[in-house]
Amino acid sequence: MTKEDIIKPENLVYQKPRLLNDNPMHYCPGCSHGVVHKLIAEVIDEMGMAEKTIGISPVGCAVFMYNYLDIDCQEAAHGRAPALASAIKRLWPDRLVFTYQGDGDLACIGTAETIHALNRGENITIIFINNAIYGMTGGQMAPTTLLGMKTATCPYGRVPEIHGYPLKMTEIAATLEGTCYVTRQAVHTVAAIRRAKKAIRKAFENSMQGKGSNLVEIVSTCNSGWKMTPEAANKWMEEHMFPFYPLGDLKDTSETK
């Protein structure tokens, strides 16, 4: 059987999601953003919500999310995506509203908006990309940077006496009454990507059913910022990020609400 015999429309098992358009992504080779974009595109398409979704893109590498996803998108001021999402969801309750934020956006400048939107129980989903570094601005220390991790602004490693401790936003979110589903996932292997997709789907469904706010943290790599190859970055993430940011559901009240 030759390759030409196999390549037929009826044998198709995987292709780029319909909602991910043909614009070449500006992300660095091997960046986790692309995988998460794909998952969001797949989930929205599977839910049949392509015409009824509004995504809020952050300030950060994912600022051009609207160039790649064929859904309605709105750009927010730095860190204010959850506030904007709250407003959009209140005005349009039948829309699927999600924000897509990095750690500099969500855990630093937007901490107040994030915590209060989650605490109010707004029916939105926050996708939180945590790569422990400021990727777009050139690899500076982020609130989520691990202790001892070297970045452009802490070249000798993060020291708690000077820089404080890494912030676990997802753990904070899990303690809030307004949140329905709080989970931490990763996209470094096929199994992890499948779990992350299920988590995004569950979060989106919860927000459409009015069960409260949802936070899906994706522990990601920034191979350019970390100065590694994409494969080495995945390995480094497994060895160093997962012990501090363990994967799994932190809170799930979607069955009881």
Binding site: I6, I7, Y14, Q15, L20, T229, E231, N234
Partner: protein, 76 residues
């Protein structure tokens, strides 16, 4: 015995040569070429024709959605 046969089609202009699919492939059918696309990246190619079983691992981990996977049953 029926065996699954797969084939991977690469959008070579979209590929950035990150090598994640090569690492994810359990049957080692992919490899980066020495040729470059218009952006100057060494793109990925299916180098082994008959081994692929169409598991789609490569396409799932691809951050840029460059890979399309086909799969069929073969009675050989």
């Amino acid at each position: 015995m029926a065996k699954m046969k797969g084939a991977v089609v690469v959008n070579t202009e979209r590929c950035k040569g990150c090598n994640l699919c090569v690492a994810a492939c359990p049957l080692h059918v992919l490899s980066l070429t020495s040729k470059v696309n218009q952006k100057g990246y060494n793109y990925v190619q299916q180098v082994v024709e008959n081994t692929c079983n169409g598991c789609s691992s490569c396409a799932i981990v691809c951050p840029d959605g460059c890979l399309t996977v086909y799969r069929t049953k073969s009675e050989e």
